[in-house]
Symmetry: C2
Subunit: 205 residues, 2 copies
């Protein structure tokens, strides 16, 4: 028994990734230093740069992992088995509200951090974040288009998609500013109520 060399290496890499994720969520990408990561992972700089060629590549890895986590979480979610588009939508929102009870998720969104900090200084990382936002939006738009067709309501799928992302991202920020995670639940719940109300109203001008 015992850990093989490859296993130990993978564990080190995982610890680096974990430390980086935590540090970025707390202080941002720029303020995240390689030294701090090494300290967290119990490793020296030589070891760090053995696993990641440079800080930017670590950033890519963190961003990728973050988004993969989001997608795998959603893939297993119960709403995927919904019978109707409307139930799918309701399930999606409920799942989001429930997911964001987790303190880990309440820490913030990687896409938001990379976007704000690096939009004008690191094109590579910014574009990755931006593309994830884009695919998130696409997913939402498709979901809402089905709902629209199904209910015959006249909601605008793109507007409501952007509106959702805005709400969630803004709520994560406010939660930090007010040190009150409840904002997330409340804002998402309000969004859900309103959207469902709008989605089930046919031609109610």
């Amino acid at each position: 028994m015992g850990t093989s060399k490859a296993e130990a290496a993978a564990a080190s890499k995982a610890r680096i990734l974990e430390g980086a994720q935590s540090l970025i969520l707390k202080r941002g990408y720029t303020a995240m230093t390689v030294d701090a990561i090494c300290q967290y992972a119990g490793i020296t700089k030589g070891g760090f740069f053995h696993h990641f060629a440079n800080k930017e590549i670590l950033g890519e890895a963190v961003l990728t992992q973050f988004w993969e986590d989001v997608e795998s979480r959603n893939a297993k979610a119960p709403y995927k088995n919904a019978a109707t588009p409307l139930e799918y939508l309701e399930g999606y929102l409920d799942f989001a509200i429930q997911s964001y009870q987790d303190p880990a998720l309440r820490q913030g969104c990687m896409l938001a951090i990379f976007t704000m900090e690096l939009a004008e200084s690191n094109e590579t990382l910014f574009k990755i974040a931006s593309s994830h936002f884009s695919s998130w939006r696409t997913e939402l738009v498709e979901m809402l288009e089905k709902v629209k067709e199904y209910t015959g309501s006249q909601l605008d799928p793109t507007h409501w998609s952007d509106f959702y992302i805005s709400t969630l991202e803004g709520a994560l920020l406010l939660a930090k500013a007010n040190d009150d995670p409840g904002v997330i639940t409340r804002s998402l719940t309000l969004y859900k109520t309103i959207l469902l109300n709008c989605a089930t109203q046919v031609k109610a001008k």
Copy 2:
């Protein structure tokens, strides 16, 4: 004629502040370097530290100025003369939507940047940003309480206040991520439509 020494000094200080504001909006507080500010302001480091004791104090000044600008803009806004609470609310939202046509405002929100980056690393600056968020919220809550009383609707002033701030802050982020400022207008407009609809519906369950 000619600029007096005091005038020149004030101009220098203003340029520092201007450069800092611009750099923070573009790259964040941590990535904003004193050297970069000096270059922007056409000044050397000696000059910079003559005007501001350290980087943190400059941060305070930027944050203060940013919020003062917001407040003075709103103070002169037409909605202040509205006849009824409902018109006041509608005017407030219209003014916001109109204000955020300005590319300068579309660059981002100082409060958001300071909150995200400094929540766990600089208590002083974070608390200032946090307190501004707080007073913003209070203002909104008061406005909505009057609307609620006036219309007899059953909207929750605190929820809708947080929801508004979430929407706006999130929209500013998305605008950057998608490089599409239109998101701001669309999300705010959607919020306005919904809120006004909700505010004018009495006991519509």
